[in-house]
């Protein structure tokens, strides 16, 4: 097995990988390769046939495949090399990337690696939802794939657990395909998906959303026959006596996305327990020099437009790393109060301006996001509302920033 040298290997040909590759090409990097395990480029966008993609970036609503195609066309036009039907098996801390396809095994010695593997869905098993184990329990993304890519209908009488965006989108999709969506249940006291999806996918179709409710038992020995739903209190504990039985043949789970970081772990990259993605600095470089991450593998995004933006912004840094062999030291920590669920980056150099992306832990009205260092405010952002479903991106100017004490992010 021979080893092939590449300046940059991009792992994953979804929206993040495509945007990163195009931007790196623009910065003059030519000896790069996108590796995609599926037979086509585009990633999860291929199955997202609803519209609403690209509003921020292109100022018009595109479907997922249309959004992806704009990038795929550019990749092809620029002649950026890509291998589809190829799965990366491992990445070493020395940036040796082993991939497999029907042509065989290949090992690349990469100058830099860009991780853009996206995310996967949280499952029934991970939540340990009690009850029997019939057919008819699916995650939302799997249902989306069955219907939109495989022309296969999964059921007729539907309950949805979790108010994630894909779940709501599938509520509409199932309805349009003739299924009856009974209700969406969300364990938290607020929705986890975007307000626009609550309006366009649930309200417009008279599908009720019940907050502070969860599925407490699954029934059916062969195909699903129904679910028991219970109300929960403020500590998310089930309130006895609130159980209600809903007959259904399909339960769709939209209960969270988890960055897919098995390969990152094989490379020995430090992970953030909050995002389940890598710890990165303002260059989107992970704890392993020369390995970068962007998109949903780094943090689960709300909009694909933000994924593209994030992936593009690492291109310059990769080019510098390839040229100089290193990037400035980043040992200024970004710390958060209890109202902030996480930030990207988690550490910075303190020597230049940077973009902070973050989410709040629970909904706020008329709040201020305060970013300070040494008790000096670096930036104050007033928001009429802040929702956990929406990412917040804030540019932090160089002005008062110092390469010393931790930067604190809080919501008040």
């Amino acid at each position: 097995m021979s080893t092939i040298r590449k300046d940059v290997i991009i792992v994953g040909g979804g929206p993040a990988g495509l945007a990163a590759a195009i931007e790196m090409h623009r910065k003059g990097l030519r000896n790069i390769l996108i590796i995609e395990r599926e037979k086509n480029l585009g990633g999860i966008l291929r199955q997202c046939i609803h519209d609403g993609f690209g509003l921020a970036r292109f100022g018009q609503p595109l479907s997922g495949p249309e959004y992806a195609q704009r990038f795929i066309d550019e990749v092809i036009e620029l002649g950026i090399p890509y291998d589809v039907g190829t799965t990366v098996l491992s990445i070493t801390p020395e940036k040796e990337v082993t991939a497999v396809s029907s042509d065989g095994l290949v090992t690349y010695q990469a100058g830099a690696v860009v991780l853009t593997m996206g995310c996967r869905e949280r499952t029934r098993g991970a939540l340990a939802i009690p009850g029997e184990r019939p057919a008819g329990v699916f995650t939302a993304g799997v249902v989306q794939s069955y219907i939109n890519l495989h022309n296969t209908m999964v059921g007729k009488e539907v309950i949805i657990l979790g108010s994630g965006d894909i779940g709501m989108i599938m509520a509409r999709r199932m309805t349009l395909e003739g299924a009856h969506v009974n209700a969406v249940f969300e364990i938290m006291p607020y929705p986890s998906g975007l307000p626009r999806n609550i309006q366009q996918c649930l309200n417009d179709y008279d599908i009720p959303l019940y907050l502070s409710h969860t599925v407490t038992e699954i029934h059916g020995s062969s195909r699903l026959t129904g679910v028991t739903v219970s109300a929960v209190d403020e500590n998310l504990q089930i309130i006895p006596g609130t159980e209600k039985y809903y007959p259904c043949d399909t339960l769709i789970l939209s209960v969270g996305l988890i960055p897919e970081n098995e390969l990152s772990l094989s490379a020995g990259i430090e992970m953030d327990n909050r995002t389940k993605g890598a710890v990165v600095d303002e260059y989107y470089q992970t704890s392993v020099p020369g390995i970068f991450a962007a998109g949903n593998v780094l943090q689960v995004h709300d909009l694909v437009d933000n994924v593209s933006l994030e992936a593009e912004s690492l291109a310059d840094n990769v080019a510098v790393y390839i040229r100089d062999g290193s990037l400035p030291v980043c040992d200024v920590q970004i710390i958060t109060d209890g109202n902030v669920s996480h930030t990207i980056p988690q550490r910075i150099s303190g020597q230049k301006e940077f973009t902070l992306s973050m989410r709040v832990r629970c909904p706020f009205k008329n709040c201020t996001i305060l970013i300070k260092q040494n008790n000096i405010a670096l930036k104050r952002v007033k928001l009429q509302k802040a929702l956990p479903a929406e990412m917040i991106r804030i540019s932090i100017p160089k002005d008062n920033l110092k390469p010393e004490a931790a930067v604190e992010v809080s919501v008040e």
Binding site: M1, R37, G85, T87, L89, T98, V100, S101, S102, D103, G104, L105, R120, E121, T123, R124, G125, A126, A128, P130, G131, E132, R133, P134, A135, G136, T139, G141, V142, S145, Y146, I147, L149, H150, N151, T152, M153, V154, G155, K156, E177, T216, E217, I218, S221, S222, R223, D249, E262
Partner: protein, 484 residues
Amino acid sequence: MDELYDVMIIGGGVVGSAIARELSRYELKIGVLEKNLDVCFETSGRNSGVIHGGFAYDPGTYKARFCVEGNLEFDQVAAELGVPFKRTGKVLVGNTPADMESLKRTLESGQINGSCGLEIIDDAQLHNLVPSVIGKFALWSPNSGIVDPFLYTIALAENAACNGVTYLFDHEVTGISRARDRYTIITSKGDYRTRWVVNSAGLGCGKISEMLGLRGYKIVGSKGDYIILDKNVGPLLPMPVYPVPSNTYMGIHVTPTVDGNVIVGPNAEYINEDAFSYYGVSQKEIRSLAESANTLWPCIHKKDYIRNYCGILPKWVDENGKIQDYKIEARSEAPNSVNLVGIESPALTSALPIARYVVSLFAEKESFIRNTTFNPVRKPIIRFAEQNDENKEQLIKENPDYGEIICRCEKVTKAEMLQAIHNPLNVDTVTSIKYRTRAMMGRCQGGYCQTRLAEMIEQEKSKAVEDIVYARNGSKLFVGKVRR
């Protein structure tokens, strides 16, 4: 019902399949009636996957005898049948003087049973073997091991099928009659005539006994729940860790699987026959399993849960509810029958010794002609993920489908999936393919591969999507095409 079978075996679990395989060494027309759509959909596939040492059973019992015998031969059996097996050893961990007394008693009965290499080890030895365990001393059984219970049952059945045994799935036995030295077995899919009949119906052993006219067996189920943990905790558990056993129950333990996951459980809840098909797990049970096992091995965190399941052991009890030994009998009230009752743990370990014993009961009445074409070897599906780079390259060169990863978590290739779909038993539920390949068994639980798996079954077996079944009869996955 024109064909006359020499032997009809009721129940295609690990014991029924072992009997089928051992009988296929002879010139006999053998059938297996299985009510499910594949083997190991009940107790044989719903357990801890432990190959027991044979120390936990009363001396002189079938359980002790067959378990020790099965344990000692398992390396050879696993190699012959191409089944993943690891002789990991096992510890029973104690803390108190009472625990020590109990372990010493277990050690003594183990020695009488012929269980090899047992010894009491101290704190240091214990923590040298399993650093993460909580306990002061242990009974160490170096001969205990772990096996893939699905693949072992499948391997026995496939080997039997390749040696001429006919498996009849989706055949539930509803009645048995006997006239002119022939049995007629009435099933949900027609009647079958046979000279001999074997009751290895597991949870159904009581019902089948009644049908044979062998009345009075009281069977209770011991329902046990399990949690499966992610492979990332696997390295913390090199062998099964058990508490000190009681007379009737092994206790909640933690067990590594041959593939590197960890399973936690089981508890034991006694249930009656009418609940034998309920495989639900409650929230309370999951919580108490984790709490209990964490006192033994404090590495169980909810973030590592990937699935839960339960299994039901058929226990034969006397009128006082006391659990009995296996009953394996050839009684004159039901001539030419072998009736197996209460075949519970350690049946995975004991299956082949039990099968040979059943064959010996036949041989007392009838002399068999050797099947000269019998081949004891079953070639497993070669797993891409378990090969070194050189072998991987070779596999892909010989079959490019070995380069196409279908299951991302377990790195199962298209080549493996195709071999599994075209299996010797001709079964094609989604779970059948899952058990044979490990696709859908990883941390994403099929999030990536299940759509591909369903499509492959549809295409390879020329099935309509609405006929694709998840596991049990009627567990249809789809209602049809979105658009024609």
